[in-house]
């Protein structure tokens, strides 16, 4: 392979090489420094006269005498079963002192778009054990559902809790986690790895680490490496893969850095105009394929700059992903974990993953009712600050109390609390039953007959649970629920 010593310009992460043989666009590049050390890069622009190379490890130490070799292929990741349980660098090199990975095959990391015609509609309910997600922003297999967070909020804990608890009830298939860290601190990375080790999840995980002090350019290939591994495990090894990408904000910063170095025309807030397409190439690699057993589900995490949801990173992400879980600083300050603000949160695939046979027949309507009441209750808080609680009608006072109880009982849960969907619905009905029955306008009478609890009592959750077991023995448990109600009446 030819070596060139024709570097004409070095700027930021870019190296310009002159007078080469024809070089392919996107080709992998090796740069050998005068001290013998090697850096790698990728071709960004190629013409007969000049080739622009972006160096992954940064351009420090590169001088005009460094030798450049074009490797004749695009970036590939060696994939095999052995990847499970391994910790790799952001560009796919082992970091855990383990042996080299014996490749089963080498795959282009950019992947290809799934033919929309061959996609299978995601419809399997994933129970995360977190009420705000399961009940109100349901995650389904093959979905991409990001966590919109802010600095200092417990997004990592939530991501880990999901990774630990996520399951499709009744179908325990092969499950794997692919974790890609982009520009996070060593401490954060350790937190993830320790948790994986403790829970035994590491055996079924592939970890890619690009830490805060690793080169920014490498960050651009880390998520692609991770998704290539995920696709391989999902579509060739029939595994259900959960991909956690953190933190996309760092990724986008790198994208901007490279764009600026290339003197491109910037778009909004200096981010490149192609950021939408670039992010789409990452997020759209979630999904299911007809005739394949496995699936790729993505939970990207991003910290919103200044908690601003209209910032280009969360904004473009929201346009591509199928919803978002938004964390709120206000709830976090109230010491509520997980601080999920359900109002700006959304799961677009929720309707296909819930209902009879999947979760429960009243799931959707309960969710709508919770949304409607909580939104109204939150608005009333503003009003109370001005006119005082006394000026409110009885209905408004009920809703105000509902909003508080909702945050305290429904949103709040323990970091290790794995609530089944039945538990979650029971809590929801307990809260809804504090509001007069006629005001539950979003719920059919049929469901109210079955689940509404008439009296306030301590054993209500227990009864709610009974009512919720109806999945298997409908008739019996309806009676049970009715009995429960009767008992409640009698004791009153």
């Amino acid at each position: 392979m030819k070596e060139y010593k024709t570097i004409s310009k070095i700027a930021g992460p870019l190296v310009y090489v002159e007078k080469t043989e024809p070089v392919g666009y996107g080709e992998l590049v090796k740069v050998t420094l005068s001290d013998g050390s090697v850096k790698r890069g990728q071709v960004l622009d190629t013409s007969e006269e000049i080739v622009v190379v972006q160096i992954f490890e940064g351009t420090s130490e590169i001088d005009k005498d460094s030798r450049v070799t074009f490797l004749g292929e695009t970036i590939k990741l060696a994939v095999s079963d052995d990847m499970l349980g391994r910790i790799l660098s952001g560009s796919g090199q082992p970091l855990d002192n383990g042996p080299e990975i014996v490749p089963e095959k080498r795959v282009d990391i950019n992947g290809a778009a799934i033919n929309p015609f061959m996609r299978d509609s995601p419809a399997d309910f994933i129970q995360t054990g977190i009420s705000t997600i399961d009940e109100m922003n349901t995650l389904v297999r093959g979905q991409k559902l990001p966590i919109f967070s802010g600095s200092g909020l417990p997004h990592n804990e939530i991501a880990l809790q999901i990774a630990r608890q996520a399951k499709v009830v009744g179908q325990e298939g092969d499950f794997a986690v692919v974790f890609a860290a982009m520009g996070i601190t060593n401490e954060e990375a350790q937190y993830f790895i320790n948790d994986f080790e403790q829970t035994g999840a590491l055996e079924n995980a592939v970890v890619f680490l690009n830490l805060a002090d690793d080169p920014a350019v490498e960050r651009l290939i880390t998520p692609r490496m991770a998704l290539t591994a995920a696709e391989y495990l999902a579509y060739e090894k029939d595994m259900h893969v959960l991909v956690i990408l953190t933190d996309l904000t760092n990724y986008c910063e790198s994208l901007r850095e490279i764009g600026a170095a290339r003197e491109e025309v910037p778009g909004r807030r200096g981010y490149p105009g192609y950021m939408y397409t670039d992010l789409a190439n990452i997020y759209e690699r979630a999904g299911m394929i007809k005739g394949k057993k496995g699936s790729v589900t993505q939970i990207p995490i991003l910290t919103m700059v200044g908690d601003d949801i209209t910032h280009p990173i969360p904004d473009l992400t929201g346009y591509i992903t199928e919803g978002q879980i938004t964390l709120s600083r206000e709830l976090h300050m109230k010491n509520i974990y997980p601080p999920v603000d359900v109002l700006p949160s959304l799961s677009r695939l929720m309707n296909s993953g819930i209902g009879p046979g999947k979760t429960r027949e009243d799931h959707k309507q309960v969710s709508d009712q919770l949304y409607a009441f909580y939104a109204e209750g939150r608005d009333l808080r503003g009003l109370v600050a001005i006119v005082g609680k006394e000026a409110l009608s009885q209905r408004d006072q009920n809703l105000l109390e509902f909003a508080d109880a909702f945050e305290d009982k429904f949103v709040r849960q323990d970091k290790n609390e794995d609530r089944s969907i039945e538990d979650t619905l029971a809590i929801a009905w307990k809260l809804l039953s504090d509001v007069p029955r006629d005001e539950l306008t979003r719920i059919k009478d049929e469901f109210k007959d079955k689940y509404y609890i008439k009296q306030k009592e301590d054993n209500k959750i227990e009864e709610g649970k009974k009512g919720s077991k109806t999945g298997e023995e409908k008739d019996n448990s309806t009676e049970e629920a009715k009995e429960g109600e009767q008992r409640a009446e009698e004791s009153a």
Partner: protein, 593 residues
């Protein structure tokens, strides 16, 4: 196949025009070639793998090409070849029920050729070239025909007649014509000058198909969505923009329109959007029935899916591919509705390519020609007298816009608003409250409202406009009152204003909210909308006169009958129920004291 005239003669000229050059530079989807003799917008084949591209600029001896496929691994010095024809779509029977990518490659065929993922360098004709269609000639030898004249028909899908037309700009006397079974490439008729007519022809996507003349849009496109049909109607041949932040329900609204609007043909373009959403459309449409004909909705639908991770240049083309197909059916005298979701992604594709070309950027990095391109696209909508068919045809365009951060002042929204006449503003706040469709009734407007009043008063009810206006006034009044309520609470308002608030609430909850996932409520006829409005207003006028008689607003608000209106929208047999409610209402008011 020349750009405009089909037939064998032209195919030869294509060969002779083709010339080849070499790649000089590659930067993403933009490839610069040297030594090639091509025209603007010619389709070229790039590199060893013959990737499809289009000439978008020429400078000295350099020809700049946007490539519709991934360019990774392509090297300078590889061959570039022009086909001598512009990017065109293949128009003929078989378009309906198809699903295409942005450059009219059928996705099922691509899946067959290259598996689950979209690889590159594969071409596929837009129509099935092996399928035989039953052609019934309606013209006969000796007939004089010209562009747009119908020479026969094919039953394309059940109950849908595909009219086979003479391609525009062609004319003459028919020498021979025959009915029978033909493929799209078979000759069905020959003109006296020897030109051959087939079931299908090509048309360049960037050139609007000619029409006889444009007509004024004065017939509504009934969408089955209460808020749209009553307050912000769209005319057949009109244009509408749906801007909204993410999560506000653009796609659900677009899909509801695609399902239920009373157009004959639907062209749905998923332009730079989510793959899973297209899958949803694909799995749902064949199941749903057209309310007019009872046939599967898919039978009248053409889908174009260029998801966000498919090549950006093909995304740019997808909008034109879609509108050309829409125009083709319009020329048969059909009413076509085109949904583009989302035009912002299309604008971004232009921006991306423009910045690769190092053009001087306009606002927010968009090219300076953004507004021209948007205007030219929307101008291809319209109700027209076609070249060869008696009945007028129309293309209505409904474009979703995805403004960054939900900020409507950004260039794509603003430039779209300058050319579209209906504006359906989606509101994230409403969506968060689960008020769907989350179309904001204060910010939205339709300039067709007055023009369509005549139609509604003669086809639905003579006092239609009156009720629409009254309802709108109440909703606007509510907006103002709510500001006061925020400060003092609703109890301290005068009785009349409390009544206004209650009527507005009824309008919002019983009328404006519509459940796209409920089997009955998903579609609402204008007659039903009218009946609902009428009942709500009956309550309003009964209550007003009760107030005049000195009744207390508190007691009026407690009346039970009004809340029964809430569920009427879920009933198919609404007339009887409304009558019962109205008489109950009457009694309740009489009983007040």
């Amino acid at each position: 196949m020349g750009e405009l005239k089909p037939g064998k003669k032209n195919e030869n000229t294509v060969e002779s025009k083709a010339s080849a050059g070499k790649i000089y530079r590659i930067a993403g989807p933009v490839v610069v070639a040297k030594g090639i003799n091509a025209k603007m917008y010619d389709v070229v084949k790039v590199g060893r793998e013959q990737l499809m591209g289009e000439v978008i600029e020429m400078e000295g001896d350099k020809t700049i090409v946007q490539v519709y496929e991934d360019t990774e691994g392509i090297k300078p010095n590889e061959r570039v070849e022009t086909t001598g024809q512009s990017l065109s779509v293949f128009l003929g029977p078989g378009l309906l029920t198809s699903i295409y990518d942005g450059i009219q490659r059928p996705l099922p065929v691509l899946a067959e050729k290259m598996g689950n993922f979209i690889e590159r360098g594969v071409s596929a004709p837009g129509l099935d070239e092996t399928k035989k269609w039953d052609f019934a000639a309606t013209a006969k030898a000796g007939d004089k025909v010209s562009g747009g004249s119908v020479i026969g028909t094919v039953e394309e899908t059940e109950g849908l007649e595909h009219k086979v037309m003479v391609p525009p700009k062609m004319s003459g006397k028919i020498k021979e014509i025959s009915s029978g079974k033909f493929t799209v490439n078979d000759v069905v008729a020959v003109l006296e000058d020897g030109s051959e007519l087939k079931l299908a022809h090509h048309w360049p996507i960037r050139v609007p198909r000619p029409v006889n003349k444009k007509l004024l849009p004065n017939i509504p496109l009934i969408t089955g969505q209460r808020i749209l049909d009553t307050f912000f109607p769209l005319a057949k041949g009109g244009t509408a923009a749906i801007p909204g932040p993410f999560g506000a329900g653009k796609t659900v609204t677009q899909q509801s329109l695609a399902k239920w609007c009373d157009a004959d043909i639907i062209v749905y373009i998923g332009c730079g959007e989510r793959g899973n959403e297209m899958t949803e459309v694909l799995s749902e449409f064949p199941e749903l029935k057209d309310p007019k004909t009872g046939n599967p909705l898919m039978n009248r639908t053409v889908l174009i899916a260029n998801t966000s991770n498919m090549p950006v240049a093909a995304r740019e083309a997808s909008i034109y591919t879609g509108i050309t197909i829409a125009e083709y059916y319009r020329d048969m005298g059909y009413d076509v509705a085109l949904m583009a979701d989302s035009t912002s992604r299309w604008a971004e594709a232009m921006r991306e390519i423009s910045s690769r070309l190092e053009e001087m950027p306009g606002e927010e990095g968009y090219p300076a020609y953004l507004s021209t391109k948007l205007a030219a696209f929307y101008e291809r909508a319209g109700r027209v007298k076609t070249l060869g068919v008696e009945e007028p045809g129309s293309v209505s365009v409904i474009g979703a816009v995805s403004p960054p951060g939900g900020d409507f002042s950004e260039p794509v929204t603003q430039n779209t608003l300058r050319v579209t006449k209906s504006f359906w503003a989606l509101d994230a706040k409403l969506a968060q409250r689960r008020h769907f469709p989350s179309i904001n009734w204060i910010n939205s407007y339709s300039l067709y409202l007055d023009k369509l009043n005549d139609w509604f008063s003669s086809n639905v009810a003579s006092d239609w406009a009156e009720y629409v206006e009254k309802s709108m006034r109440i909703l606007q009044e509510e907006e103002k009152l709510l500001e006061i309520v925020q400060l003092v609470g609703s109890d301290s308002l005068p009785d009349e204003q409390q009544l206004t608030l209650e009527v507005a609430r009824m309008l919002r909850e019983f009328f404006l909210q519509q459940n796209a996932f409920h089997e009955v409520d998903t579609y609402c006829t204008p007659q039903k909308s009218y009946a609902l409005l009428k009942t709500i207003h009956q309550f309003s006028s009964l209550a007003e006169s009760a107030l005049e008689r000195g009744m207390k607003i508190k007691d009026i608000l407690l009346l039970k009958s009004k809340n029964k209106v809430a569920n009427v929208k879920f009933e198919a047999d609404y007339e009887k129920i409304l009558k019962e409610i109205e008489s109950e209402m009457q009694k309740e008011f009489e009983g007040l004291r």
